[in-house]
């Protein structure tokens, strides 16, 4: 069948009108309201799942989830002045440190005056069935296995990532727990310049040099960066958060409660423990980190232009749907959640936190 030139022209005209109509309809369509959620890298998987379910319940909302190191998450609000509607970090102590005394420009208000602790985690070792000695490693001999010259060990850079400096804390706690004073150096190797550990009256200070090089260690900038090294078999074991290992299908060796920082059990071993970095990465952050249990906290920056929607999202996170999603994504929730300053919480959130 052949078409006349006129018919071809008419078909072309109809197509052009269709395209134009599509463009016009697209332009005039209802625009979704965007909610910007900044979260710690290790929360990426559960928060993406939260965003999907929140959007399903709120069809007019587009939740944009962005992951960074926890300090960077806060800096995006307080120093880079990006719109951040909700922020969630892997170390609750950073919120008061960086937001409670930092004023929103042009106002007398601080960036935040409350946080809610909503999830926890624990530090351990991620590995695969192909990792050397995978069939014999356990929570009693792990440091002996990692000390073997052919066992490749990785951690995220303690200068940049909380799981990195927490791995150093875990190795120091292991020395005390197992009564073996060489674990720290045996597992982490001799770095040059050295990482030093000093003890005064039961309080330990681990000092990390400006540049970190150890022939025994593979060091990556983030806990997520460790995944490819483990999956590819380039390293055998990596210090990692349990949630991250499980979310990516890796095997995970749990360490004893006194070492894994999932609770305050470490206090039976030390009066105090901190990591001090000789490299100050951020002008606004004094580079010293106290040993604290791993607790995730969420807050809403004072200057969000979408306060109502932000509260709705946090309500969703702390409510039964959020708790279910966290559990499904291997991120243990703290239940019930609790706040440092319950009186200052938005009223909609108060019923969802412990008295």
């Amino acid at each position: 069948m052949t078409l006349s030139r006129g018919r071809v022209a008419l078909v072309a005209l109809a197509a052009a009108i269709l395209v134009l109509s599509g463009i016009l309809v697209g332009c005039s369509g209802e625009k979704k309201q965007t909610l910007k959620v900044f979260n710690a890298d290790s929360l990426m998987v559960p928060f993406e799942a939260l965003a999907i379910e929140f959007e399903a319940e709120h069809p007019g909302v587009d939740v944009q989830v962005e992951g960074h190191g926890s300090i960077q998450v806060i800096r995006h609000a307080t120093e880079l002045h990006d719109e951040v509607d909700v922020l969630a970090v892997a170390d609750y102590s950073l919120i008061p440190m960086l937001m409670y005394e930092t004023q929103v420009p042009g106002t007398t208000e601080n960036y935040a005056d409350w946080y809610v602790i909503f999830a926890t985690n624990e530090l351990g070792l991620a590995y695969t069935p192909q990792s050397k000695y995978a069939d014999e490693i356990n929570s009693a001999n792990w440091y002996e296995v990692l000390s073997r010259p052919d066992a490749e060990v990785a951690l995220s850079d303690p200068r940049f990532d909380s799981s990195g400096y927490r791995a150093l804390m875990a190795c120091q706690l292991a020395e005390l727990y197992y009564g073996n004073e060489t674990i720290f150096e045996d597992v982490l190797g001799k770095s040059s310049p050295p990482i030093t550990v000093d003890e005064i009256d039961g309080t330990y200070t681990i000092t990390v040099p400006e540049v970190l090089k150890s022939p025994k260690l593979t060091i990556r900038g983030s806990s997520i960066g460790l995944l490819s090294t483990i999956e590819s078999g380039d390293v055998d074991y990596a210090f990692m958060y349990k949630s991250v290992a499980e979310q990516h299908g890796l095997q995970f060796l749990e360490l004893p409660a006194q070492i894994n920082l999932g609770s305050d059990s470490y206090k039976t071993l030390v009066q105090g423990l901190k990591v001090k970095l000789q490299f100050q990465r951020f002008a606004s952050v004094y580079p010293e980190f106290e040993c604290l249990p791993i607790l995730y906290a969420v807050t809403i920056p004072q200057n969000t232009p979408k306060r109502e929607l932000a509260v709705e999202f946090v309500k969703f996170l702390l409510g039964p749907e959020g708790q279910r999603i966290l559990l499904e994504q291997s991120q243990p929730p703290v239940s019930p959640a609790y706040a440092d300053a319950p009186d200052l919480l938005p009223s909609e959130l108060k019923p969802l936190v412990a008295e």
Partner: protein, 210 residues
């Protein structure tokens, strides 16, 4: 009547299609040439870099002075802490080693601090200043060996100055011959100061070295 209308359509429709086609061509040309970006490459870009040597020798160079120095051009990119890949890009800039030379040079017992306008900083070992980084294949994200790699104070990306949000006027970049990636924290944005310092050793030697 029918024939008359058909004739009219036959006359009008081709004209309409020609006009529509012409508009499409013009729109394509406009999108392709991006005339709105021309202003960016022609506008005056301001910004200074302060260089400080290991003996406190100091120099301040303007954007134009940096651009007048010999440049290196290569390919490279980075990935963020959550694995988002950026690049590889074609990047132009001045070698960090050349800038260090202007204030006395850098040796294996030094480190180089790079500071940004927003209060962020990074420290690089001598080996890193020489281009020694772990490099990743953009396809597999596995570490792969690399050929020539150079650490630059970059001012152009894919033939244009950086946009403000990407680090304008200066950003660090690790590029070379192999179009590979490095970790994103090395691509420091909004660089304002490069300082060579002797490497610190631990203050307290009583501790357990590791």
């Amino acid at each position: 009547m029918q024939t008359e209308r058909s004739n009219k359509i036959r006359r009008v429709v081709p004209s309409f299609i020609i006009i529509f086609g012409l508009l499409l061509i013009i729109a394509s040309v406009v999108v392709y040439t991006q005339p709105w970006d021309k202003g960016a490459s022609e506008e005056v870009i301001e910004g200074n870099i302060t260089l400080i040597g290991v003996n406190y020798e100091q120099k301040v160079l303007s954007y134009d002075e940096i651009k007048a120095l010999p440049y290196y051009e290569g390919d490279g990119g980075f990935f963020t802490t959550v694995g988002v890949i950026n690049g590889p890009f074609r990047v132009r800039g001045v070698l960090i080693t050349d800038l260090c030379e202007l204030v006395g040079g850098v040796t294996p017992v030094d480190v180089v601090f790079v500071s940004a306008e927003d209060g962020y900083s990074m420290v690089f070992s001598y080996e890193q200043i020489m281009g020694e980084f772990d490099t990743y294949d953009p396809e597999t994200m596995r570490i792969v060996p690399h050929g020539e790699q150079k650490l630059l104070l970059a001012y152009e990306i894919d033939g244009k100055p950086f946009r403000k949000e990407d680090g304008r006027p200066f950003r660090l970049a690790l590029v070379g011959t192999d179009r590979l990636l490095v970790e994103g924290h090395n691509w420091v944005k909004w660089v304002v100061k490069i300082e060579v310092m002797p490497i610190k050793t631990a203050d307290n030697t009583a501790g357990t070295g590791a």
